[in-house]
């Protein structure tokens, strides 16, 4: 990663800071991450395949990916609505709510986990309202969904909010003067501009949800084949001292995360192109 020698650099410290960055990055992140892949190579492909396609593990993929997609979709709808309200309307308590949107980032996941469990348990504030309706949330797959909605909301709000704030009013005014009704303006003028950001928020929430552990395990109940998430399968294997098994599942998750990271980078480039904002 040498710099081209073409220009004379006025500022000092390039070698020092880049060298330190690369060394620290390798030590803390790259080398330990490489350990995961090297460890998997001690397995033959058949062994690897047997671990990552075991029925209990496959059930965990279905739960983790399914619920993460659903949670990200719910957040896309309500996150857009909340961002819209925060940008376009004045109402009491707005500043406080705006600040509290980041709560899922600031509140430790274990705290969120036990709080949600207390709320949705049979005798909890929300759980006792749902109980007569025959809806059980805590210790069921639905509990996983609730936790993932909690942690994903800020991703959508915070990606959509700045784009909404930057929107020019001229386009809407032009559309209105040409006779478009409000819904048509939203659907055909505003939504196309928001779409890349909305998808980015959706993808970020989805990526976070798939890897989430702390807020989910308390409310999930962790019943094999029913409410076990994939990160928990890694923990379970580790507790049985099955390091290669844990690593094999980790590789599957990492491949997925890296793919999603590329998708998100692409989406952010699209957002920048659509809105003229540089990253």
């Amino acid at each position: 990663m040498n710099a081209p020698a073409r220009s004379f650099r006025v500022l000092p410290g390039f070698r020092l800071t880049l060298g330190y960055t690369l060394a620290y990055l390798s030590l803390i992140v790259l080398v330990p991450l490489a350990a995961v892949f090297l460890k998997t190579f001690t397995l033959t492909f058949d062994q690897f395949w047997a671990v990552v396609t075991a029925p209990r593990v496959v059930a965990s993929y279905k739960l983790s990916f399914g619920m993460s997609l659903l949670a990200a979709a719910i957040n896309a709808v309500f996150g857009l609505m909340l961002a819209w309200a925060l940008v376009r309307y004045r109402f009491p308590g707005k500043k406080l709510i705006d600040a509290l949107v980041d709560l899922p980032f600031a509140l430790p996941t274990a705290v969120a986990g036990i709080a949600l469990t207390a709320l949705y348990a049979k005798n909890g504030w929300i759980g006792q309202l749902l109980e007569p309706l025959g809806i059980q949330v805590a210790f069921k797959p639905l509990g996983v969904l609730v936790a993932l909605v909690f942690i994903g909301l800020p991703f959508v709000v915070r990606t959509v909010q700045p784009i909404l704030e930057d929107l020019d009013t001229e386009l809407e005014e032009a559309a209105a003067s040409l006779g478009a009704v409000r819904w048509q303006i939203f659907r055909h003028v505003i939504l196309p501009v928001l779409l890349p950001a909305l998808l980015t928020g959706f993808a970020l929430a989805f990526a976070r949800a798939v890897g989430e552990y702390g807020s989910v395990i308390f409310i999930a109940g962790n019943i094999p084949m029913v409410s076990e998430i994939t990160p928990l399968m890694i923990i379970t294997k580790l507790e049985q001292y099955d390091y290669t098994g844990a690593t094999a599942i980790a590789v599957v998750m990492l491949m997925f995360s890296f793919t999603l990271l590329l998708v998100i980078n692409g989406l952010q480039a699209w957002t920048a192109k659509r809105t003229g904002r540089n990253r």
Binding site: A3, R9, P12, T21, L33, A35, A106, P108, I114, I234
Partner: protein
Amino acid sequence: MDGETYREEPLMSGAVAMQWSGAGDSAARFETKAATREAPLVKWLIIGLSLSFFAVFLLMPLVAVLVEALRKGWETYLTALLDPDALSAVKLTLIAAVIAVPLNLVFGVAAAWAIAKFEFRGKHFLITLIDLPFSVSPVIAGLIYVLVFGAQGWLGPWLYEHDIRIIFAVPGIVLATVFVTFPFVARELIPLMEAQGKEEEEAAVVLGANGWQTFWHVTLPNIKWGLMYGVILTNARAMGEFGAVSVVSGHIRGETNTLPLHVEILYNEYQFAAAFAVASLLAMLALVTLGLKTWVEHRAAAAHNENQDGTS
């Protein structure tokens, strides 16, 4: 809005968006014109739905923590917090944060200096690599250190011979904490320093300042709010991390328990009041974090606007 408005894209899993646009309420811009506002019914429907969603999913869990913590009264609450195991968990949480925050702060400044002030090949790839810890599940963050330092890991036998414990001990907890908070400061500073360019620093160097003086007197005043923002987020995540730390901790009471892990142990032992009491400490930390973050955003916006006025 002015074209200079600076905001950052949100990150994979941690912080989002330092916003220093004008401090004013943008809503006025939309609400005053007929073409950009909705019928009152639609408006209040949107506000009602989104705020109900906010109340159920964000506000209620927060309130629940505080109510459950005090359910058995102040005495139980204080007993839970003053328990020796709780105090040692506080201590370990502080140790992890006190080590992780400065390490990632120095790294963040160094990385931002190299990336924002110089041109080199592979820059974007480097930024993606710095972001990696955000896209990795916390459980995997713990696992990778077990694979390197654990009894069966690469360095396991050597460490055992020399009687050095990393996994199921304090160093492992610190390492996992460093990993999950790795990108925060760098991710905050890189776009900020890129936006500021390097003319001011170059002028200082040409006038005879050395590198350190240039950084201290020219760069640092420009980035101090972004720096503080990154530190606040790093600290919050460092003190609250659960998954990664849980994998490397071994859950030894009074020795390798951080506050979040202590909450888990108490909860799993059905000591709910005590679990929520300790959890309420972390919830208050979260509120302080959000308060500080909002304050820094305001100061940064004010400083930014002042700069705008000064230069135009």
